[in-house]
C-alpha cells in the first residue's frame, strides 16, 4: 500500500485542488457573492501548495492534533472494515427502510463484531427500533421506508 506520507500529501493536494476549483467557479457569481469564495479559495490553494512543498522538501511528519495513540490495526479491524459496516447500514436503508435496517444492522453487528448472544442482540435491536418509532412519533417525522417495507405494508392493506 501507499505510505502514510504519500496519503497525507495526496489529501492536501486534493483539498488544494478543490479549493482552486471553487475559486474558479466563484468568478461567475453576482457582484458581492464572488469576492469571498474567490479570495479564500485562492489563499487556501496557495497554502496547500506551500504545505505540500514543505512536506516534500523538509519531510517533517505531520503532527497529530490530538493524542489518540491507538494503532488502527490493533483490535483486528481496519478502518476500511468499519466503513464497510457503515456502507452496509446505509445500503440497507433504501431496501428495508430506516427502522428495519437499523434492527437488522444492529443484530448483525452485535453478533459478528461484538460477539453478543442472540437474545441480547435482538433485545438491543428492538430497543433501537423502539427509539426510532418513539422519537419519530414525538417529532412527527417520516423516514425513508424502503421497498421491502412498502411491499409488506401494501400486502397488509
Amino acid at each position: 500500500m501507499f505510505s502514510e506520507r504519500a496519503v497525507s500529501i495526496a489529501l492536501t493536494a486534493v483539498v488544494g485542488i478543490v479549493l482552486l476549483a471553487m475559486a474558479w467557479g466563484a468568478q461567475d457569481f453576482l457582484r458581492y457573492s464572488r469576492h469571498f469564495p474567490f479570495t479564500f479559495g485562492l489563499i487556501g490553494a496557495v497554502l496547500a501548495a506551500v504545505i505540500i512543498f514543505r512536506d516534500l522538501v523538509v519531510a517533517r511528519p505531520p503532527v497529530p492534533d490530538e493524542p489518540v495513540g491507538d494503532a488502527a490495526s490493533e483490535g483486528g479491524h481496519s478502518p476500511l472494515q468499519v466503513f464497510a459496516w457503515f456502507a452496509l447500514y446505509f445500503g440497507l436503508v433504501p431496501v428495508l427502510g430506516f427502522p428495519l435496517a437499523t434492527g437488522v444492522f444492529t443484530v448483525a453487528f452485535l453478533r459478528v463484531v461484538a460477539g453478543a448472544g442472540w437474545i441480547l442482540a435482538i433485545v438491543y435491536a428492538a430497543a433501537a427500533m423502539g427509539f426510532i418509532f418513539f422519537m419519530g412519533s414525538m417529532l412527527n417525522m417520516e423516514w425513508p421506508t424502503g421497498f421491502v417495507s412498502r411491499a409488506i405494508m401494501s400486502r397488509m392493506g
Binding site: 453576482l30 457582484r31 423502539g130 418509532f133 418513539f134 412519533s137 414525538m138 412527527n140
Partner: protein, 363 residues
C-alpha cells in the same frame, strides 16, 4: 385523543406508542364525517419556531375541534431550500386526500413567480382554504427631514434601507422606491426584520418597513419618542386585486395615494402590476393553507367550515392577535380571491420584476 395538549396527554400518547398500541381506525359509514378517525398533517416547509410554523401551530390548536370528525392534527416541519424543499414534497409526494395540507409564506411564492429552477410546483394545481393578509408600514428617521409623503423627494441626508434578500419580501420595497422615484441606497444581507429594526435604532439605516404586529409593539414607541415618522402603508389587496387603504392605519396614505400625488395620475403599467403581484405574494396573502385541486369536496368543505369557525371564534381571535397580525383569517371565496393575484399572476409582471432585478445587478 386530541393534538397532545397537556403534558399528561403527551405522556399517555408516548406510553401508547411505546406499548405499540394503535387505535384502529373506525369503519366509516357512508355519511360519517370525512375526517373521523383520520390525522390531518399541516405540512410546514420551515423549521419550528418561525412565523409560518407558529401560524400553523395556532391553527393546529383549534382545528381538531373545528373540523367535523375531530381528527388528530399534527404539524410536520420539512425545512430546506428556503422552503422550496417542503413545497416540492407536497407537490410531488403527497396524495390529494386532504389529509396533508400545505402552509406557505411569501418565501415559497416569490421563487415560483421569479421562475426559480428549483421550483417543481404550479400553484394553479392547488386551491387555498385559508389565507391571512398582513399590512406593512414604511417609516423614516426624523433626521432625514422627511415628515410626510410629500417630502420623499427632498431628504436632507442620504437614505439607507436595510433588507434581507432582494428576491424576497424586500422586492416589494425596491419596487416602491422605483415607483415613487425615491433615491435610496439599499443594503441587503441582514438576518431578519428584527435585526434590521435594531440597525435602524442605532442609525445604520434610516428607512425601514415593518409588518403591522411588529410595528405596533416596536416602532410605535419609537414614534412616540420622536425616533420614527410613519410615512405610508403598502396598502391591502382587495377582492378585485386593487390596492386599498389599510384598515389598521386609516390615516396613512397607501403607496397608491403617494404615487398619485407624485405623478398626478393613477398608477398603471408593468411596474405597478409587478408591485401588486409581489405585494400579494409577500403581504396580501402572506400565509396560505393549500389543498390540491382534486381533493375530495367533502374534505375541502370540512376544512373551509373549520376555518370559518376559527375565524369567527372570539376566543381564537383574541388569542391570535399576535399570530394573525390583527387581520382577519380569510376563507372560502375571500381566500381564493386573495390568492388569485398570485395564482393567476400576469407573466409579464413577473418578467418585469426579473428585468428590474437584473438592472440592479441582482440577477
Amino acid at each position: 385523543m386530541r393534538n397532545f395538549n397537556s403534558p399528561m396527554g403527551a405522556l399517555a400518547g408516548a406510553a401508547m406508542v411505546i406499548a405499540g398500541l394503535s387505535v384502529a381506525a373506525p369503519v366509516h359509514a357512508q355519511d360519517a364525517p370525512y375526517y373521523e378517525g383520520k390525522t390531518l398533517n399541516l405540512l410546514v416547509p420551515f423549521g419550528p419556531g418561525g412565523g409560518t410554523d407558529v401560524w400553523a401551530r395556532y391553527l393546529a390548536e383549534y382545528l381538531p375541534e373545528a373540523i367535523e370528525g375531530s381528527p388528530t392534527v399534527l404539524v410536520e416541519n420539512r425545512p430546506g431550500g428556503g422552503s422550496i424543499t417542503g413545497v416540492n414534497h407536497f407537490a410531488m409526494q403527497v396524495e390529494p386526500d386532504g389529509e396533508t395540507v400545505l402552509i406557505t409564506s411569501g418565501s415559497s411564492i416569490q421563487p415560483y413567480l421569479l421562475e426559480d429552477p428549483a421550483v417543481r410546483y404550479d400553484l394553479a394545481d392547488w386551491r387555498p382554504v385559508a389565507a391571512n393578509p398582513v399590512g406593512a408600514i414604511f417609516y423614516v428617521h426624523p433626521s432625514t427631514g422627511i415628515e410626510s409623503a410629500d417630502d420623499l423627494g427632498s431628504a436632507s441626508e442620504e437614505l439607507y434601507y436595510g433588507g434581507i434578500s432582494a428576491t424576497g419580501n424586500d422586492l416589494v420595497m425596491l419596487l416602491i422606491f422605483d415607483l415613487l422615484d425615491m433615491n435610496v441606497q439599499s443594503i441587503m444581507g441582514y438576518d431578519g426584520k428584527g435585526p434590521i429594526r435594531v440597525a435602524y435604532e442605532r442609525g445604520e439605516v434610516n428607512t425601514d418597513y415593518q409588518v403591522t404586529p411588529a410595528y405596533t409593539t416596536s416602532v410605535e414607541p419609537l414614534v412616540a419618542a420622536d425616533q420614527a415618522v410613519p410615512i405610508f402603508t403598502f396598502g391591502i389587496i382587495d377582492a378585485n386585486g386593487d390596492v386599498v387603504a389599510d384598515e389598521a392605519f386609516p390615516d396613512l396614505p397607501t403607496v397608491k395615494d403617494v404615487y398619485i400625488s407624485i405623478h398626478g395620475e393613477e398608477p398603471s403599467g408593468q411596474a405597478w402590476e409587478a408591485y401588486k403581484t409581489f405585494l400579494a405574494a409577500g403581504f396580501g396573502v402572506q400565509k396560505i393553507m393549500w389543498v390540491k385541486n382534486d381533493t375530495p369536496e367533502q374534505a375541502v368543505a370540512a376544512l373551509e367550515e373549520a376555518i370559518r369557525q376559527i375565524a369567527e371564534d372570539p376566543e381564537a381571535i383574541e388569542r391570535g392577535v399576535e399570530v394573525l397580525g390583527g387581520y382577519p383569517l380569510l376563507y372560502g371565496e375571500d381566500a381564493a380571491a386573495a390568492a388569485r393575484s398570485i395564482v393567476n399572476a400576469d407573466p409579464e409582471a413577473a418578467a418585469y420584476a426579473m428585468s428590474f432585478l437584473e438592472e440592479l445587478g441582482l440577477r
